[in-house]
């Protein structure tokens, strides 16, 4: 069968497939400039997340003479109710948003992959129990649950927020990984690996996971977007204390406190965090699109 062929071909110089991979990435990115834009957007946000708070003095300067100032050269998005520059608020808020998103992604992927693999690989009783659990996790309305949890949990640190969102959000990945595992384990190369007497650890770690990695990575990016929406949304609803620096706090103050909706001049205060969310989403969607094509050769249009 083909399994013996792959076994002999694989140990060939490891650098060639690597280089081909990167060449493929560049080609995919080049063909649609929008994908390049996606990468640029994500790099920009990562930069803001790491260095953003260092660009501004802490606490942010207030200008009592310019409350709700309209956009100007000094304040591209105007100022808020205390005269703080809105752009500075968005930039310094990036860190919490991204950090919580990353923490969520790591936890959802770790939990989801482990549970999905366990269920799909062992099947039988484990499978039934784990999938019931997954169904339960998926059907409990998540946002209401988060709201109820917010009465006992204050989510002041982004990592705490990420952990809670992650523990409540692994179901989708678990189900997807399970179905991938179920279909992969019937394939020739897994059968061959089992026929060779390789250990389960080897089969899972060296054969199954690498072929699922791109799939999991894409799910991770999607999990990041979900986490960003959920945390910004929670702060927006105003059920969490406002001492955290988050775009959602800005949204809440703009809508319910600031009356950004009563006059068109104050709209930039509301629009700035919305634009940040939209831009970040756009970046992630474009990168997912690129990854889809890089890892799924069948989608490639030659």
């Amino acid at each position: 069968m083909t399994a013996t062929q792959t076994a002999t071909v694989l140990p060939a110089p490891a650098s060639t497939p690597r280089r081909n991979f990167w060449r493929g990435v560049v080609r995919v990115l080049r063909r649609k400039p929008s994908r390049m834009a996606g990468v640029v957007i994500l790099v920009l946000f990562a930069f803001l997340g790491v260095f953003g708070p260092m660009l501004y003095p802490s606490p942010l300067p207030r200008d009592d003479n310019a409350l709700y100032a309209p956009p100007s050269l000094a304040h591209p998005f105007g100022t808020d109710f205390e005269g703080t520059d809105v752009l500075a608020l968005v930039v310094t808020g990036t860190r919490y948003v991204l950090l919580a998103g990353l923490a969520t992604a790591v936890i959802t992927v770790a939990l989801g992959t482990a549970i999905g693999l366990l269920a799909g690989f062992h099947r039988g009783r484990w499978d039934t129990v784990l999938m019931r659990l997954t169904d339960l996790q998926l059907t409990i309305p998540g946002l209401p649950l988060l709201l109820v949890l917010s009465t006992v949990w204050k989510f002041t640190s982004p990592l705490e927020m990420g952990v809670v969102l992650g523990v409540l959000g692994w179901g989708g990945i678990a189900r997807a990984v399970r179905s991938q595992t179920l279909s992969l384990r019937e394939r020739g190369f897994i059968e061959a690996a089992r026929g060779l007497g390789l250990s389960t650890r080897h089969i899972v770690g060296r054969e199954l996971l690498p072929s699922m990695a791109p799939y999991i990575a894409m799910n991770m990016l999607i999990a990041v977007t979900g986490a960003i929406y959920a945390q910004v949304g929670l702060f927006f609803l105003g059920v969490l204390p406002f001492d955290a620096n988050n775009w959602g706090v800005m949204l809440n103050l703009a809508v319910f406190g600031g009356g950004a909706l009563t006059s068109a001049a104050a709209l930039p205060y509301l629009l700035a965090p919305l634009l940040a969310i939209l831009l970040l989403t756009l970046g992630i969607v474009l990168v997912v699109d690129a990854m889809d094509e890089i890892f799924n050769p069948r989608l490639r249009e030659e």
């Binding site: 309305p141 109820v148 009465t151 949304g233 609803l237 949204l251 909706l261 709209l267 629009l271």
Partner: protein, 334 residues
């Protein structure tokens, strides 16, 4: 028929398990809230000069469980109250049972959610077929991109943008509330016009938020069915386009019903944002306000009712699926 009954029984068992998990979560949270609101209420009543057993009863009526006794007794008491459909009393509007508040809020959630879902479903499914058939054309591409964008954006962003456009930049619709209070409720024209005007923006937001998902799902489903042999056979037999379309649509729409089931749960999450933005007095706003007012009995009750609604929607969608897809009904393929 037998399989349908068995499926239904399985669903009911799973739904009951889920409701039990949710009530347990509510109970644990109400018990672990810093400051122990149940205990505090009990002690407040004692301070006001109430006799201990009377205070105990009053507190139990409020929260649905007793402030004294072992945790297990409290838990059993709480579940017992729920089984008798007693959700306790609201703190923020004293003297009103939680169930009454939820009942009056439910209609403000259900009607806009259903209206918006129906609208986005019809629009998304129709345009999804078009996007799949013309997927290499420019319009098909544009439809798919509009779907991805709207699907990727959270509901509150859509809601806030809709609000900014239609109430601030181009103020043609009311900004919040369910109806203008100056009209007499009842079946008269100004009242109904006001109702519709106030409902327009929430329904529009639900529709826009749902549209993306439907168009994407329908597009990929139609693309799969288009590759099936029976479509080729139908084409070769020279069937009319209308019949061809019916073959296509009937098969392509099936997987969407499972998504419908899951999306209903999501919609209740979305309702929280949309109702908060438009100050619409549905279940979502009730939940948010109950947390703001530290009205924990109301919070637990609303959370429970939202969960029950999701469970019921799931079961309904699954039964609907069995009616539509004969393969599931006979239990052959499922």
């Amino acid at each position: 028929m037998k399989t349908v009954v068995r499926r239904l029984a399985g669903h009911l068992a799973r739904g009951a398990a889920m409701i039990w998990v949710v009530t347990t979560i509510s109970f644990v949270i109400i018990r672990t809230i810093p400051g122990d609101p149940v205990r505090a209420q009990y002690e407040k009543l004692i301070e006001q000069g109430m006799a201990p057993d009377q205070a105990e009863r009053a507190t139990a009526a409020l929260y649905g469980f007793l402030p004294k006794g072992s945790l297990w007794d409290q838990y059993v008491g709480y579940l017992n109250g729920l089984i008798h459909l007693d959700l306790g009393q609201s703190l923020s509007t004293p003297g009103t049972p939680v169930a009454t508040l939820i009942g009056s809020a439910a209609k403000w959630t259900i009607l806009p959610v259903l209206g918006g879902t129906l609208l986005s479903f019809l629009l998304g499914v129709t345009l999804g077929v078009y996007a799949a058939i013309k997927r290499s054309g420019r319009l098909g591409d544009a439809l798919a991109i509009s779907g991805s964008l709207l699907h990727g954006v959270p509901q509150y962003v859509i809601g806030l943008l809709v609000m900014a456009v239609f109430t601030t930049l181009w103020p043609i619709l009311p900004a919040g509330g369910p109806v203008d209070i100056m009209y007499d409720p009842g079946f008269n024209a100004p009242y109904i016009v006001s109702l519709v005007e106030h409902a327009t923006l929430p329904v529009l937001t639900y529709a826009l938020a749902g549209y993306g998902g439907w168009i994407l799902a329908m597009k990929s489903s139609v693309a799969t069915v288009l590759g099936d042999d029976f479509i080729l056979a139908a084409e070769l037999r020279g069937l009319r386009r209308g019949i061809l379309f019916r073959y296509l649509a009937r098969n392509a729409i099936l997987p969407l019903f499972t998504i419908l089931a899951l999306s209903l749960g999501m919609l209740f999450g979305g309702a929280i944002f949309i109702e908060t933005i438009f100050n619409y007095p549905g279940l979502g706003l009730l939940l948010v306000n109950s947390i703001g007012a530290r009205d924990y009995a109301l919070m637990g009750g609303t959370f429970l009712v939202i969960t029950v609604a999701v469970v019921v929607a799931n079961i309904a969608a699954d039964l609907l699926y069995a009616v539509i897809d004969p393969r599931v009904r006979t239990g052959g393929a499922a």
